[in-house]
Amino acid sequence: MDESTLENLLAWLGLVIDIPYWAAVWRQYRGSFNIQGSELIRGFTFFILAYFVLLNLCYLALNLMSLVTLYWRRHEQILDELPQVYTGLEQPITIVVPAYNEELTIASSIRSMLQLSYSEFEIVVVNDGSGDGTIDVLIREFALIPFPRAYPMRILTKPVLEVYQSTLHPNLRVVNKANGGKGDALNAGINVARYPLFCAVDADSVLQRDSLQLVVKPFRYGPDVIATGGTVRVANGCEVSGGFLTRVGLPSSPLALFQVVEYLRAFLFGRMGWSTINALLIVSGAFGVFRKDVVIEAGGYRTNTIGEDMELVVRLHRMMRERRRKYRIVFVPEPICWTEAPEDLKTLRNQRIRWQRGLSESLVSNWRLMFRLNGGAAGHLAFPFMLVFEWLGPLIELGGYVFMTLAFFSGYVSWYAFAVFLFVAVGLGILLSISGLLLEELAFHLYPKRRQLLVLGLFMILENIGYRQINSYWRLVGLCQWAAQKEAAWGEMKRKGVWQREI
């Protein structure tokens, strides 16, 4: 390089990093928005744009981390394909199934769980004061008899009325207790559990025969692992026979299709990204495995929250960090648990409101995690991310859309500024959705048909025009309800289950 070229290069470099110079440029051109009005409007517009860009860049970063992990794991597929032999050293598991008013489906769910392929496990069904005939169905279908109730009451729960043992299946027990909510039911199941690991499963979850083997795998690698989360996928459109998934398909309902896309974009690879840096703050209540002694030490599930699954995980992070103990909470990306997604707006709305409330409760009750010096990635990255982008996200996102629309129509914002805002918001959203589909193709290839790919691609675009915004609105409602301390309710899930066949 000759001297003059070097000189010019240095001059340009100096230009780029010359802060006073750019400050002067800013002062020069701050009016270029053609905004007639206060600096506040301009500042808010910049903030909204920066927020959208930052949010999507964070998700992209998580997807990138997931990509690295998936690429690495893909190479080990040859080992996973080999016949698996039980050594008898596998850690036994207790599957805890909380049940409330599940008389129609509980028997088939339990029968399918009894067929899971694992060396040693037991199932503890907790009937949480159902108002219907759940307990009668269980007694009848599984020939239950009363069982002596000598178990350690490590976590206080609502009164247990009776413990039953199945005479047909030695590894099936049922706890009949007074109603106390899902968290209370899980705590009762933990008290009764015999084994060092327990797996919290929703009664309506559809598992695969090797689900337990896959979700327990990380525990093999040492006592550091205290919890693993299973991937929950949308079962709508799939074929289920004998309680197990036999064919993966796409739902026909547009609402369910949006949720498939959403699961790929945010729930699957987002969580996987956090897991790579041991910052996973959510293990789905539909399917997660925990070390029993650690959960008991943490006090079990909270009963006065609606998001007991996330709250427990955040509390585990906080506890382990406070006690300076080495630990890992791992996300298992293989599709191992399928659940029915709501196909009507009302149920979906209730679900999203509930999730936002659960998030609020989890973050607020464990806020100390963020300020710990040894908070690690969980406290210094994941927690602030959740706070800013998930908790306050609906407020900012929806506020941004409303503000920009109003400002545009009021003439405070030029049409191109408005257009750029929409362009960035939708463009980044589409990029994020497609990156989720790329990872799905790379890792699992669950949707092999060309038509399925096209439909997913289309809905990935459409998701950003309407669905995400409605979601933000519901989440905002959830946030407001939490703030107003309005009483939370699970609501009723309208189950269609048309893809399920009778055993």
Partner: protein, 422 residues
């Protein structure tokens, strides 16, 4: 598209002094901004004589932002740097989305091609493999094309993992005739992890001594899956040498799951027993619990003298691991001495150990444990009483009725019910 003049490198360097001069000039024109951002004002500013060199400031100067005047093209410019950045971010995002979409389509096409090749390999080779397994010699054997090697070896490995005996040997012979050992050695040196793993698996099943140096190198690597697989291949090839070399590492590598190690070491149980027994006294104290756990998993009978030392070790974890391995009555006195240990986990393991090696004189001790403050100790003691051969069912019931302690009574009732349920 917005009109943005491209920057050209100045013929002379723009000094900091010059830039500040420009800034000062801009500040003096603030009054123009106070009137609002009129097109005339901007145009006037743009015409302000500046330095002849083209500076970034001059580039920005050329952008005109107006809503009331100017052409449509002029009206869709992005004069604000943040808008400019935002616009190009959105554009980049959409372009990247298109690229990813193309990548997905390309992956689908590649997968389809791979599936076709795999189907072809299955169609050609599965019948031949089935005949080889059945003991049917095949002459001549077709040659394996380079593009088919990887897929063929995957099928071959899967079959090898499922069969034993003469069928496995026949598959090995077939692989050697096809030159798979040579291919596998090439895979060992590959950077592709999948191929490396396949190479190690093939050479392990072939028990190829030629690959020993490379396997040893992989064994010492940081990657858990590859190093563990290399150990497996080495144990299959030459178990004595492998265990002699590897035992120290086996006990130290916490990232190797115990279950997987047990599967590997079970290939050579006697040699493994000797190697573990030799290694345990010499192992680092921090790894002693792991060594004892391995011994327990492999059901290795460690010398009583050695176990007695472990039972007297200061570390609770070592004592717990040693208690789990205790299997001879020689150690009863030491085990009994731990029955009142302050740590409930030790008392629990003592009750289990008594269940394995105890005699009738331990019944009193177990009855006392029925009243232990820790639930799990009471539970295990009750299980030992009801399920061991110390008492028959009638005697257990008598004991139940004779027990005053209600916790002990409840525990016995539970243990009896569990036994009945099974």
């Amino acid at each position: 598209m917005p009109t943005v003049a491209r920057a050209t490198l100045p013929s002379t360097a723009v000094t900091r002094t010059r830039r500040y001069d420009l800034c000062a000039r801009r500040r003096s024109d603030q009054s123009q901004h106070a009137r609002g951002w009129s097109g005339a004002g901007r145009a006037a500013l743009a015409r302000t004589p500046l330095d002849d060199s083209v500076t970034p400031l001059a580039i920005l100067d050329k952008r005109i932002s107006t809503t009331s005047a100017g052409s449509i093209l002029e009206s869709i410019t992005l004069s604000d740097p943040f808008l400019w950045i935002a616009f190009w971010t959105g554009t980049a995002a959409l372009c990247l989305a298109v690229v990813l979409a193309i990548a997905i389509i390309a992956m689908r096409a590649a997968l389809a091609r791979q599936r076709n090749t795999a189907d072809l390999v299955d169609w050609i080779w599965m019948p031949l493999l089935a005949r080889i397994i059945a003991g049917d010699p095949i002459e001549p054997l077709p040659s394996l094309r380079p593009g088919e090697s990887f897929l063929f070896l995957r099928v071959w490995i899967h079959l090898q993992a499922s069969i034993r005996g003469d069928a496995a040997l026949a598959l090995n012979e077939m692989a050697v005739r096809l030159g798979c050992d040579r291919v596998a050695r090439q895979y060992l040196l590959s950077r592709n992890r999948s191929r490396q793993l396949v190479g190690v698996l093939v050479l392990g099943y072939l028990r190829s001594a030629d690959a020993w140096p490379v396997l040893l190198h992989l064994f010492h690597g940081a990657d858990s899956a590859t190093s563990l697989l290399a150990l497996w291949a080495m144990v299959r090839t030459d178990p004595g040498t492998a265990l002699k070399h590897a035992m120290r590492h086996i006990l130290a590598r916490e990232d190797w799951p115990l279950m997987r190690l047990v599967t590997i070491l079970a290939e050579a149980p006697e040699l493994c027993s000797e190697a573990v027994t030799r290694a345990v006294p010499l192992v680092d104290p921090a790894h002693l619990p792991r060594a004892l756990s391995l011994a327990e998993a492999l059901q290795i009978a460690l010398p009583p003298r050695l176990l007695a030392e472990m039972l007297r070790n200061e570390s609770i974890d070592v004592r717990l691991s040693a208690l789990r391995v205790v299997a001879t009555p020689d150690l009863l006195p030491v085990v009994r001495s731990l029955a009142d240990h302050p740590d409930w986990r030790v008392r629990l393991q003592v009750s289990k150990a008594i269940g394995r090696i105890g005699d009738e004189s331990d019944l009193t001790r177990l009855q006392k444990m029925l009243g232990d403050p820790e639930w799990w100790v009471r539970y295990r003691a009750a299980q030992v009483i009801t399920h061991s051969l110390l008492l028959n069912l009638e005697e257990v019931r008598e004991l139940y009725y004779a027990t005053d302690d209600r916790f002990g009574k409840a525990m016995l009732e539970t243990a009896i019910a569990e036994g009945t349920a099974r």
